[in-house]
Symmetry: C2
Subunit: 280 residues, 2 copies
């Protein structure tokens, strides 16, 4: 693996470039992005120069897609006829079924590995990038067992050096899981902030504690990134929302009974358990 191209030089793409460098990668890392992002990516030290998607396809052993999902779907269509035999294309998208399907349709066989680094922060863009963004965070790979590509082993070693926790799943398992662990929390935070907004119309309440700040942090997310996440994972998200609606009804109906204490205990046990998962 001598030459890497990062398509979409934002928070994730730039962080991946910085992490690769920190892990000792000596080859070229080029970027495919807007002029502003290329400039920021070069200044950050994550990429050495900007190239076109055509140039990236001709020169790269690894093409790392880190655009919003709708843009990646377009990129995969364009890349299809350009990709060299043996090149590994991987992505950092938050849903996997739609991307895997598009990659299977347009890319040559044995060239696509699905990926999803479960890392991020409030700020966006190359300016917020960090070499350690992926450290101790889950990095889901999908379909790794199904393809034969000589660069997969090396890519995996770099992910380990970067400190990512590799987890293998099918695209379907991934999408059902993140509907519950990522998309549901996002939509609840949004629904909570929308509910409160309706009660204050224009002015914000002053009477709140740190809990409301935690619970509305995800609601700060920009809609643009989320629209294509929601579009490409509707079924599992609708299922997750329906499960949750039942849980809220259960909470409301149990308020007058001792059952509410059991619900608190079940919830508290789960909240502790996911924190223990992280400490390991």
């Amino acid at each position: 693996m001598n030459s890497v191209s990062i398509v979409g030089v934002g928070l994730i793409g730039t962080s991946f470039g910085l992490a690769l460098r920190k892990a000792g990668f000596k080859g070229e890392i080029a970027g495919v992005s807007s002029p502003g992002s290329i400039k920021a990516g070069i200044e950050a030290g994550a990429i050495t120069r900007g190239v076109s998607l055509d140039e990236a396809a001709i020169a790269s052993d690894l093409i790392y897609l880190s655009q919003p999902i709708d843009r990646m779907l377009e990129t995969l269509r364009t890349l299809g006829p350009l990709v060299r035999p043996g090149c590994l294309v991987t992505d950092a998208g938050s849903t996997k079924v739609a991307i895997t399907h598009t990659a299977a349709t347009f890319l040559p066989p044995n060239s696509f590995l699905g990926g999803h680094p479960m890392a991020g922060k409030e700020q966006r863009g190359a300016i917020a990038a960090e070499a350690d963004l992926f450290r101790d965070r889950p990095y889901v790979l999908t379909g790794a067992g199904q393809i034969s590509n000589s660069h997969i082993a090396e890519f995996r070693i770099y992910l380990q050096k970067i400190g990512a926790q590799i987890i293998e799943m099918t695209p379907e398992e991934h999408d059902r899981t993140v509907a519950l662990t990522s998309h549901l929390p996002q939509l609840l935070s949004t629904a909570l902030a929308a509910t409160l907004a309706e009660n204050w119309e224009g002015s914000a309440p002053q009477v709140f504690g740190p809990g409301l700040i935690d619970m509305t942090r995800l609601a700060l997310s920009a809609p643009d990134v989320w629209m294509s996440v929601l579009e490409t994972n509707r079924g599992p998200i609708e299922d997750a929302l329906q499960s949750f609606e039942s849980a809220v009804r259960e909470v409301r109906e149990s308020l007058r009974t001792p059952a509410v204490a059991l619900l608190f205990e079940r919830a508290s046990k789960f909240a502790s358990a996911i924190r223990d998962t992280r400490k390991k």
Copy 2:
């Protein structure tokens, strides 16, 4: 105001004692609590000694109640016949209507001022106390205008020195507001964790990002404290849960339409606005 008693030497009570000292209070601060809490409160430097509730009632200019709500309701009943004329009793409970009603029934006129410091942390007990716990946090006072008590002015000056942001409301306004800004977020976090627990039964998922950690922090809360909050604010909480259930349904039904982007924008605007409130 020469003598203060803190009834319930936990996180809030001990922090109040430490804050009073830091603000220059030179009088005695006694504690009414379990032997373990009295020991911890003395070691922290928040109280000088442990006393009985009877002794506290005889000696104090200010009695600061910082127990769980159900315990405070009992304390108010017991305190009724013991309180000296001119003594100010105030509390730190998370709901105000039930406490105010009980105080009005059992305490002498002009002795009760409702209070709610909107501060806290995950850890509990005197050991987690901080002199600056109330700094830059809202501190709701209820009924201050309705009573004539010579210690109110001095208590208010100490709250200002402590850095608390005093907000005056009626008990009813307070309870409706915190149903939305505090009790609703708590119950959502609990319902979210319970929903996820149901989907993994025993094991926790590994595939999640920092968003799920934010959204399940409140779910860690111990049920005991919350049961009496829920019991004393059922009506407003049921209303808040119903508004929220409509919002979740709206999110689910808008997933297939462009309306979901507008919902994200409304929510994001609100989430920014409450953060701006804090910065002022």
